[in-house]
């Protein structure tokens, strides 16, 4: 059996920017002294005149991007999720969101899979912060194929987009030849009847693995990849919930404000359903190797399997 290819979605971001940069000379990349880590360094190498390092000043970078977009360019600003969505939140809201400027926010190092750097750098609130801003598109891709497609879709979309990427190399499960990305459209990975599991980001692959264990126990789970948290695929969420009658959400994010909350917001109005939210349970992260943390916080396949099994029983 061949080794499964693993790629960190931050690398996908860097690669996609280079590809887009070849076709579109209005694309400008801004970074805040993290070009090596956010992988915009690849773009810098290819297009040095279009890579602007703002220094360690995320609020300023965000404001500069607003001015760049107001002059007709398409800026991608890059930093860790903690700083892009957290430190610069108000700049994103008031200088980008309110005037609905065409700025793309490439936020890497999201979630606990940042690993050893610990809680100060493990942003678990960014999806919640960003999806509260009117008109903001929020995308959390699951693997390399999806992440590269998401960056291209973000460029083509006119308006602000928040893209969430990870530091950890994760399995590439999508097939590039057949994969299609559409903003706001969930992807049914497996149909089922007993329970629907909506997963996002690196939790999608873990959920695919968990499904195999559930199937062995006779539980027929429907698995849906929600790469776009906003606008959420309401139709698909409601349809699947009505079909299975039980819903689980899985995300590497706080259970407050993220995918689970977004799904519940829709279901409570359109199809009240019992929902189990799997994520980080209102605590800060901690230092440790990424895979160990994912396991410790119950976001690995086995953790997901156990929780879903207990929930479905």
């Amino acid at each position: 059996m061949s080794e499964i290819k693993k790629v960190a979605t931050r690398d996908s971001y860097g690669n996609a920017l280079v590809e887009l940069g070849k076709e579109h000379d209005d694309l400008i990349v801004l970074d805040a002294d993290l070009a090596g880590a956010t992988k915009t360094g690849m773009f810098k190498k290819a297009f040095p005149e279009r890579h602007w390092d703002i220094g360690i000043a995320e609020a300023n970078m965000t404001g500069i991007a607003a001015g760049v977009a107001a002059c007709g360019k398409v800026p991608f600003i890059s930093s860790f999720a903690m700083f892009a969505a957290g430190r610069a939140y108000e700049q994103v809201r008031n200088a980008i969101g309110y005037p609905h400027l065409n700025v793309k926010i490439g936020a890497t190092h999201a979630g606990i899979s940042v690993g050893e750097d610990g809680a100060t750098h493990q942003c678990l609130e960014d999806i919640g912060l960003m999806r509260e801003i009117p008109g903001m598109v929020v995308i959390n891709p699951a693997d390399d194929v999806e992440a590269r497609a998401a960056v291209k879709a973000a460029y083509e979309h006119v308006g602000p987009v928040y893209l969430r990427f990870g530091r950890l190399a994760v399995p590439v499960f999508n097939d590039e030849a057949t994969y299609k990305f559409e903003i706001g459209k969930g992807i049914v990975l497996k149909e089922g009847t007993d329970v629907t599991i909506f997963a996002t980001g690196l939790c999608v692959n873990e959920t695919i693995e968990a499904e195999k264990m559930l199937a062995a126990d006779g539980i027929n789970a429907e698995i849906i990849n929600i790469h776009t948290i906003k606008p959420l695929d309401r139709e698909l969420v409601v349809k699947s919930a009505l079909k299975t009658g039980k819903v689980v959400t899985v995300e590497e994010h706080s259970v407050i404000g993220g995918l689970g909350s977004a799904v519940c917001d829709v279901l409570c109005e359109e199809a009240p359903t019992k929902v189990l939210k799997i994520g980080i349970n209102d605590v800060f992260g901690e230092s440790g190797p990424a895979l160990e943390l994912i396991k410790k916080y119950g976001l690995d396949a086995e953790g997901i399997y156990k929780k879903v099994k207990a929930f479905v029983k």
């Binding site: 220094g55 300023n60 404001g63 500069i64 002059c71």
Partner: protein, 278 residues
């Protein structure tokens, strides 16, 4: 325009400011009045703009970093012909396009939405950087408050602007010395403002910001300055032109009542009559 024409225009803008804020029953007259002469010079003399084509591609840009003095900007834009002066009385009213703070999506001539202090300079820096990148010769202007520069983001933006030698950028600091809680040098002193901008690699010009000779000379000097952005530190009188508002902190963010409105307009009428005698 001659200085006398500019003074007359600024006085009309001051009347509009008082009228708009009175109609809104809220808003920020003090800083709008202190910066009215700067607004007037920018929109009637300095900037390459076209009120009939507000989004003209290579126009000069203006970012009102101290967004709360929107009545000053709106009154100037209306005086310049971007939209009808009669609309100014809808300021801050439900359903009006004249929002409490500048809204670029709905107000002709507003180049950037603003209002949250400390952010406008970064936006202006981004616009100036694109101008340089595209080798265009448009210029970018921004107006900050002397209280506003207590915000750290101003200095992040200043550092990058100076470092990148953005000589198409002019920052005007409306130094009226008053902020909501009192005198700026009693709340958290920003002084020396000139030395700070100099340290961030700006060309700095100190002027009386209510004197058109000095305003004209400063913008000319800024235009001639190459290799660094310019900061104009404009010493102004908060509430300028309205007797009971001048240098009174309380008029930062308060509307005149009907009686006060009559006094304010009478003050400005007197200024106008005096200008006609010149």
């Amino acid at each position: 325009m001659t200085n006398l024409e500019l003074e007359k225009t600024a006085n009309e803008i001051r009347k509009s400011i008082v009228t708009a804020v009175h109609s809104a029953k809220s808003g920020h007259p003090g800083g709008s009045l202190s910066s009215a002469d700067i607004f007037t010079y920018l929109y009637f003399e300095e900037m390459n703009i076209d009120p009939k084509n507000p989004k003209m591609e290579d126009r000069d840009r203006f970012v009102l970093s101290k967004g709360h003095v929107a009545p000053g900007l709106y009154s100037t834009l209306a005086e310049r012909g971007y939209f009808p002066k009669e609309d100014l009385v809808t300021l801050r009213h439900t359903g009006s396009y004249l929002q409490g703070h500048p809204d670029m999506k709905h107000i002709p001539g507003v180049d950037m939405s603003s209002g949250s202090l400390g952010q406008g300079l970064s936006v202006a820096v981004g616009m100036a950087a694109v101008g340089k990148y595209d080798k265009k010769d448009y210029r970018v202007y921004t107006l900050c408050g002397d209280g506003e520069i207590q915000e750290g983001q101003i200095w992040e933006a200043a550092m990058w602007a100076g470092f990148k030698k953005l000589d198409n950028l002019v920052v005007v600091v409306d130094n009226n010395n008053l902020q909501i809680d009192g005198a700026v040098d009693e709340v958290c002193s920003p002084y020396p403002i000139d030395k700070k901008f100099e340290a961030f690699n700006f060309h700095v010009i100190n002027i009386d910001g209510n004197d058109f000779d000095q305003i004209r000379a400063a913008f000319k000097e800024a235009r001639e300055t190459k290799g660094m952005p310019t900061a104009i530190i404009a010493k102004t009188v908060k509430g300028k032109g309205v007797s009971f508002m001048e240098n009174v902190c309380d008029w930062h963010g308060k509307a005149p009542n009907d009686e006060q409105y009559e006094v304010a307009m009478a003050d400005l009428e007197k200024v106008g009559e005096a200008l006609c005698q010149k």
